[in-house]
């Protein structure tokens, strides 16, 4: 078991630029069931992916492959022809919001948007659009979602993951890799790792993902990685203390971040005295979350949390 994606999830890709093509290739190498692509001007042709280009040289399922993905003009056509339920969006920022809404309109269950740099106002519209639909959005500005050994949608390096017992949810990319790597080394592995992204307006929240992991029978604990800005971690703390039945460990980045400065991520900013790391850490500790004192201690914090429960 896992959350969001599994080995039999059929996935399409929206956006076949350099990044989209590269990561479609690494997804196929990992064993993800990529079934089609959407591109407005290349409809009717195919995109060829031949041989493992995963730079780690460690393809997920080992076999070499020779895949021709059919390209459709619209998401609706792609869904109709392939039965896909999930989409990976690599469309450039000016068009990404529209791509997400098109995917939702076509009835996809899950849309994972990797694109960084979507205007906030566009995401405000996306959020309103999705409020009336069943589609779940992950991202944007995120590494994606991976269920180790089964399905990888996004830009994360597959080989650092290992099928296991911990659900990972994070606002950061490389910090997630750090966490996943520690969980793999420590032998806990991951059920699913979800990057919810570093933007101020995004799809799935910490609370959404915590709820999914809490219901997933295979997930035994959750490691959540937050950062300064907004109140998503405080909302998570509230939810954990009310509803979470499984142990949670966490790390919050940005203890030393100065107020009023955007720390790389569009959403990582302390404004009006709100969104500090200290406030988030206090809220999470108050909810019983074991907070790692440094990012090197995320794996051991998870072990500690598991031991306490």
């Amino acid at each position: 078991m896992s959350v969001l994606i599994e080995g039999d999830t059929n996935v399409i890709v929206q956006g076949l630029g350099k990044t989209g093509s590269f990561h479609t290739d690494t997804a196929i190498a990992y064993g993800t069931r990529m079934v089609g692509a959407v591109h407005p001007t290349k409809a009717g042709t195919t995109a060829a992916f031949r041989g493992a280009t995963d730079p780690s040289g460690v393809p997920g399922r080992g076999e070499t492959y020779d895949v021709e993905l059919p390209i459709f003009g619209t998401v609706a056509e792609a869904v109709g022809a392939t039965g896909a339920t999930a989409s990976a969006v690599y469309v450039p920022p000016p068009f990404a919001a529209d791509a997400i809404m098109e995917a939702a309109d076509a009835g996809l269950e899950l849309v994972i948007c990797i694109t960084e740099g979507i205007p906030v106002a566009d995401m405000v519209i996306v959020k309103r659009f999705l409020a009336e639909r069943a589609t779940r959005l992950v991202g944007p500005n995120c590494p994606g979602v991976i269920t180790p050994g089964q399905c990888k949608i996004g830009i994360m390096p597959g080989y650092i993951h290992d099928p296991g017992r911990i659900g990972v949810v994070s606002r950061s990319g490389t910090l997630t890799y750090e966490a996943v790597f520690q969980l793999t080394k420590i032998g806990l592995g991951q059920t699913t790792a979800i990057g919810i992204g570093g933007d101020p307006v995004n799809g799935s929240s910490f609370v959404d993902c915590l709820a999914l992991f809490d219901e997933d029978p295979q997930t035994e604990g959750v490691l959540m990685i937050g950062e300064i800005g907004g109140t998503a971690e405080e909302e998570a703390a509230e939810w954990i203390s009310q509803s979470m039945t499984k142990p949670v460990a966490g790390f919050i980045a940005g203890t030393t971040a100065p107020p009023g400065k955007r720390m790389g991520h569009a959403g990582a900013i302390i404004s009006g005295g709100l969104g500090t790391a200290d406030a988030k850490i206090a809220a999470l500790e108050g909810a019983g979350v074991v907070i790692a004192p440094t990012p090197t201690d995320m794996g051991t914090a998870m072990v500690e949390a598991m031991g306490q429960s």
Partner: protein
């Protein structure tokens, strides 16, 4: 991206938002020349001389060179002395303010040089209010926020009298609806003429926020005049950087002299850099990891000199540029490079670091922590380079090493 008050008011005026008339002035003569047309237009002999810098608290701020002088000065000489007296006073003020350094609560001790003034009509103030449009992340919408406590920092109002802050969320499909604006106007105690003007003002401001992709418009104070007009006495606008591509007119208002030169330089090379006050330079891939690296340096007792995210696709060229920017800071006593190479390979990073050190030179200790794809190859490249670089086994080890090497 921030712009100056005078630019924000130009954008507002063009959208039917009431602002006092004013003229920017980069020279003393321009400042003096602004007085007569402004007084003629308003019939009010009072003008205001306002320093234009990208920081708030100007009124209470003081010039380094003229400790008796504030950043905003109301000139009343015209009331009894006529226009000539007002002009003479503006000349005296402008010659002291232009080129001087203004220190406010928001500029830091070093202050900001005033290169431009804004000469504005005096306004007959009845009440001072607060009004802003900004993103409320909790509801994923822009909100209009207002308060009767004009002239006070909104953070202070939020901390002391949160009940005095009124909010309405803006549905992106409809904009700020009339009844919402009327509800805010009533909450602010506006009546009759002022209420009608307030509603119009708020709806126009909400539309402007949407049209211009602002991340903040703050009017503090928003004033109600004795005649019931509702006017933006101050105006602060900043823009959402992801959306600037669709606003070339706004982008043209950028004033790079207001920005940190190192941050500007980094931006040109696609690096995300923020200067901090510490002594340990950091080079990291990924924003979250970069923040966490700063935190771990602090955890071991030192202070980071910067935030620097080289991004996912860091090339040797980018690493060299990042290295140059870090080493240019005289406060830097040591450098910690912390890379988790996922898609980015550690051997590429290592080659980049070696190239950078060879090109730029290395006068301070350097600790490199590499993890991820081709990590052994990366470490080998560093070890065989013959450079004075210390390898770290993990982030904690690296942070501990760079702190002990510099203290």
């Amino acid at each position: 991206m921030k712009i100056h008050e005078y630019q924000a008011k130009q954008l507002m005026a063009a959208r039917g938002i009431a602002v006092p008339e004013g003229r920017p002035a980069a020279t003393v003569d321009e400042a003096v020349g602004a007085v007569r047309p402004l007084v003629d237009a308003s019939g009010n002999p009072v003008v205001v001389v306002k320093s234009q810098i990208h920081a708030g608290g100007r009124g209470k701020g003081r010039f380094v060179e003229h400790p008796d002088l504030g950043g905003v000065t109301v000139v009343t000489d015209g009331i009894s002395g006529g226009i000539e007296a007002a002009e003479a006073r503006v000349r005296a003020l402008a010659s002291r303010m232009l080129g001087s350094t203004l220190v406010t609560v928001q500029t830091g001790e070093e202050g900001k040089k005033v290169n431009r003034l804004y000469i504005e009509q005096g306004v007959d103030i009845d009440r001072e209010l607060y009004l802003s449009v900004l993103l409320d992340r909790a509801v994923s919408r822009n909100i209009v926020m207002c308060s009767t406590e004009g002239g006070t920092e909104i953070e202070e109002v939020a901390a002391n009298t949160p009940e005095k802050i009124l909010r309405e969320a803006i549905d992106p499909a409809y904009g700020l609806l009339g009844f919402q604006a009327a509800r805010l106007a009533a909450g602010l105690g506006l009546s009759a003429e002022a209420s009608r003007n307030g509603v119009r003002f708020m709806q126009a401001l909400a539309s402007a926020a949407r049209e211009l992709d602002t991340d903040l418009i703050e009017i503090n104070p928003l004033v109600v005049t004795k005649a019931g007009e509702v006017v933006a006495l101050d105006g602060k606008m900043s823009f959402e950087s992801n959306a600037l591509y669709r606003h070339p007119d706004v982008l043209a208002m950028r004033d790079e002299t207001e920005e940190d030169p190192a941050e500007l330089e980094a931006g040109r090379h696609g690096l995300s850099f923020i200067k901090l006050d510490g002594t340990i330079g950091c080079m990291v891939n990924g924003a979250g990891l970069a923040m966490a690296t700063m935190d771990i340096i602090k955890y071991f007792g030192a202070e980071p000199a910067n935030f620097l995210d080289v991004g996912g696709g860091a090339t040797a060229e980018k690493i060299t540029e990042a290295f140059k920017i870090i080493t240019r800071d005289p406060a830097v006593e040591g450098i910690f490079i912390n890379i988790f190479g996922g898609i980015m390979r550690c051997d590429t990073i290592a080659s980049g670091v070696v190239e950078a050190v060879e090109e730029v030179g290395l006068g301070v200790p350097l600790v490199v922590r590499l993890e991820g794809t081709n990590v052994e190859l990366g470490k080998q490249i560093i070890d065989e380079s013959g450079l004075n670089v210390v390898s770290a086994s993990d982030m904690k080890d690296g942070a501990r090493k760079i702190v002990s090497l510099t203290t």
